[in-house]
């Protein structure tokens, strides 16, 4: 994992001091709430319905056990004993006091963490594949590139007041788990012409995004040599900063500019700008990548055979353990190891929420069984990336003891869900209570497993923080004369075969949402062939059969 050097430490500490000064000036009445707003946003501090919300950055989802313990400490000392993992791999606290925030940032800095640029119209946390470095389908580990981009983009003086927020994601695997085509800049680490021994670079997508106007990113450069990654990003950002719309915040994202120019003209603008800076000091050298890669070494794996007899025996004996192994663990590139997913979608808990004691338990388990590292995922779960197969039973027991062994990863209950009306001032409708309703409807595990992989994603309004456009089933909260209604979509996909969901029909009343989901899944179960997932069946049969069933029932 990346470790701060003296420069990183200085910047983070000076940032804390700067914010402490800003908050003190505000509390003394020297800085108005309106003037503080931009400053606090760029330190991750929002104003929500009931209180402030602090969003702490977890760069590309990597944290270690000590950092997790600090997150637990913050939840306990400054908040109500829990935190909430977000779809950008960050963690949010819903109840901090403004006057405590400088102290919280100080505590974070002690363990090399910060909240810089987790909100505001600037370059946000770089997100990536939660299985980076361990996935069997990985071609190149994206994390060194993420960290290089993170440093370059942190407190970049020119791109701190963009027309709108700006999100960058990086993947290095065949199966894109970072949704790069739905980012302002999406980077796919590739080898030139797909040749195993060729030069490393990036396929660059631009102008993707969710929000009110969901757009799939377009390829702006088929192959960009890795030396040029910073100058190319800078060229894109400069064109956007100068030409992006600032008169209407709903038209201010780069996707609108790319569409207005057309990708070809936009590319010409970027290339013209890039020609000026390509060979500037932004050019990276071989040694820069080597130095960064050293922070992400292969853990000291043991030489182990695939499979473990004792674990296999228990898997046959204990159906709960079996369900957990089957659903929550996935193949590792190293023989004798598994990737363990920790579901934060326990029934009756808001998706992504985790208590202080659970965080500490995860920190301990990671320390004992997974090289003291944890990842957060954009699906609002956690990952222990390097668990020996022979330890799976112990890990499961330890997680189960703190209610973190819910075996529902990838299922309809493993939904992504934004905070909605319970916390967010922009919301049209609540999402957490609907998540609960769905959890209750699908409380039969056999049914859940029979249904298999369903990516259910829910947002409380058009801003789409819950990524509903790309859910296999998407749910969008809408306001109908002051009542909460829900618009359903089917067939969205955030992976390589990116697709926006198709609208099912008129919005559905709150009480009927889980029944409508039940209907959709019934159609799927009636019509699926072989081992088709819901998404595959939908692609084959289209929206009509789903529509008929849902609205026949609702009528």
């Amino acid at each position: 994992m990346y470790q701060y050097d003296a420069v990183d430490k200085t910047i983070v500490n000076e940032r804390v001091a700067q914010f402490r000064d800003q908050v003190e000036r505000h509390l003394r009445g020297e800085l108005s709430a309106a003037d503080l707003q931009h400053l606090r946003l760029r330190n991750g501090l929002y104003m929500q319905i009931h209180a402030h919300m602090l969003r702490v950055s977890i760069p590309y989802g990597m944290i270690n056990s000590d950092q997790m313990r600090t997150l637990a400490h913050i939840a306990r000392k400054y908040d109500k004993g829990y935190g909430h993992f977000t779809t950008r791999q960050n963690i949010q606290y819903n109840w901090p006091n403004l006057k405590d925030v400088p102290d919280i940032l100080h505590d974070l800095a002690e363990v090399e963490m910060h909240a810089m640029q987790t909100s505001g119209n600037c370059i946000r946390n770089i997100s990536s594949d939660q299985y980076a470095g361990v996935a069997p389908d990985e071609i190149i580990d994206p994390r060194p590139y993420c960290e290089i981009i993170r440093q370059w983009s942190t407190l970049h003086p020119e791109f701190y007041w963009l027309p709108r927020k700006f999100k960058i994601a990086v993947t290095g695997a065949t199966n894109d788990r970072a949704a790069v085509q739905f980012h302002d800049i999406g980077l796919e680490v590739v080898r030139k012409d797909g040749d195993q021994n060729a030069e490393v670079g990036f396929r660059v997508y631009v102008g993707g995004g969710m929000g009110r106007t969901p757009v799939i990113g377009k390829v702006i450069k088929e192959f960009l040599a890795r030396d040029d990654i910073l100058s190319y990003c800078e060229a894109i950002l400069r064109v956007y900063n100068l030409h992006g719309r600032r008169d209407n915040k709903y038209k201010a994202r780069i996707k609108i500019l790319v569409n207005a120019f057309g990708i070809d003209k936009f590319r010409d603008e970027v290339e013209a700008e890039w020609a000026h800076i390509k060979d500037s000091q932004l050019k990276l050298h071989e040694v820069d990548f080597d130095a960064m890669a050293k922070f992400f070494p292969l853990p000291s794996y043991e030489d182990l055979a695939q499979g473990d007899e004792r674990v296999e025996k228990w898997r046959q004996l204990d159906s709960r353990f079996k369900a957990w192994v089957d659903n929550n663990t996935v193949a590792h590139k190293q023989s004798g190891y598994r990737i363990v997913n920790i579901s934060l979608k326990e029934h009756s808990v808001a998706p992504g929420d985790i208590t202080d004691t659970q965080m500490e338990a995860v920190a301990d388990i990671a320390e004992q069984y997974s090289f003291a590292e944890i990842r957060s995922t954009h699906e609002q779960n956690l990952v222990l990336a390097d668990v020996r197969e022979q330890d799976l039973l112990e890990v499961w027991k330890a997680l189960d003891a703190v209610n973190l062994a819910t075996a529902n990863i990838g299922s309809v209950n493993d939904m992504i869900c934004c905070p909605g009306l319970d916390f967010c001032s922009l919301a049209n409708a609540s999402s957490i209570s609907v998540a609960k309703q769905i959890n209750e409807r699908f409380d039969n595990d056999d049914e859940l497993y029979d249904i298999g992989e369903v990516k259910l994603k829910m947002s409380g309004c058009m801003n789409a923080c819950g990524h509903h456009h790309v859910g296999h089933i998407g749910i969008l909260g809408v306001d109908k004369k002051g009542e909460e209604w829900y618009q359903l979509t089917v067939g969205g996909d955030a992976t390589n075969s990116a697709e926006l969901g198709t609208r099912l029909g008129p919005a559905i009343a709150k009480d009927n949402v889980s029944d409508a989901i039940g209907d959709i899944l019934d159609v799927y179960r009636d019509q699926r062939s072989d081992d088709e997932r819901l998404l595959d069946t939908f692609r084959r049969i289209g929206i009509e059969p789903f529509k008929e069933r849902v609205y026949a029932e609702q009528a």
């Binding site: 050097d5 420069v7 200085t10 910047i11 000076e14 940032r15 001091a17 700067q18 800003q22 020297e30 003037d35 931009h38 400053l39 119209n121 290089i148 440093q151 370059w152 942190t154 407190l155 970049h156 003086p157 020119e158 791109f159 701190y160 007041w161 963009l162 027309p163 910073l230 400069r238 900063n241 100068l242 600032r246 000026h276 500037s280 000091q281 932004l282 990276l284 050298h285 040694v287 820069d288 130095a291 960064m292």
Partner: protein
């Protein structure tokens, strides 16, 4: 001019681009090269009746279009003439005149506008402008650090802001990660030496 005229709005102007200053601006103080100085520069707003004859005496800054139209006559004035470049203007339009200009003024109208950060960067690095780059309008203590990194070296603060307090903004950060129009170097280049 008395020091009591800080941010005095001198005359109303005709409706134009919202990115241009709407009324004339005069501030009694400025920060130049991180020093507090007395100031008498009069920033003239663009409006339909603006002519050479109606210009105030003394040091002035004028809108870019007006400057381009009246360049020769303006340079005959005894006092200083600076040029305003608004956020929606293109720095390329001023490129051929940079040798004749000692100061460019970039107004932040009503709020922070990221475009002027890129304009300043381009003026310094792409066009090699060596004169003064001055920020006026919505210019706050908390922006000074970043503004100076992209090439600004002079500031007239937002109405009512404390100049003395603002001076310490330049000391907030002693390290940076990336190059801009200042001396800042790419962090990876710096680490190359130590590795």
């Amino acid at each position: 001019m008395s020091t009591a005229t800080a941010n005095r709005a001198i005359k109303a102007r005709a409706k134009a681009s919202p990115d241009r200053i709407q009324t004339d601006v005069v501030n009694a103080q400025a920060i130049v090269d991180q020093q507090l100085v007395d100031n008498a520069l009069h920033h003239v707003a663009e409006h339909d009746e603006l002519t050479l004859e109606t210009l105030p005496d003394g040091d002035i800054s004028v809108p870019l279009t007006f400057y381009l139209e009246h360049k020769a006559a303006l340079h005959e004035r005894e006092s200083q003439v600076a040029v305003q470049v608004a956020a929606d203007e293109d720095v390329a339009d001023i490129a051929d005149h940079l040798n004749d200009i000692q100061m460019i003024v970039l107004p932040f109208v009503a709020q922070i506008d990221g475009r002027s950060y890129s304009l300043a960067y381009l003026l310094r690095t792409r066009y090699g402008f060596k004169g003064q780059l001055r920020a006026i309008g919505y210019v706050r203590l908390d922006q000074l650090g970043f503004l100076s990194r992209v090439g600004f070296d002079a500031f007239e603060l937002h109405e009512g802001d404390d100049y003395q307090a603002a001076l310490k903004a330049f000391l907030e950060f002693s390290e940076v990660y990336q190059p801009s129009a200042d001396e800042g170097r790419l962090i990876f280049a710096r680490r190359r030496v130590t590795h």
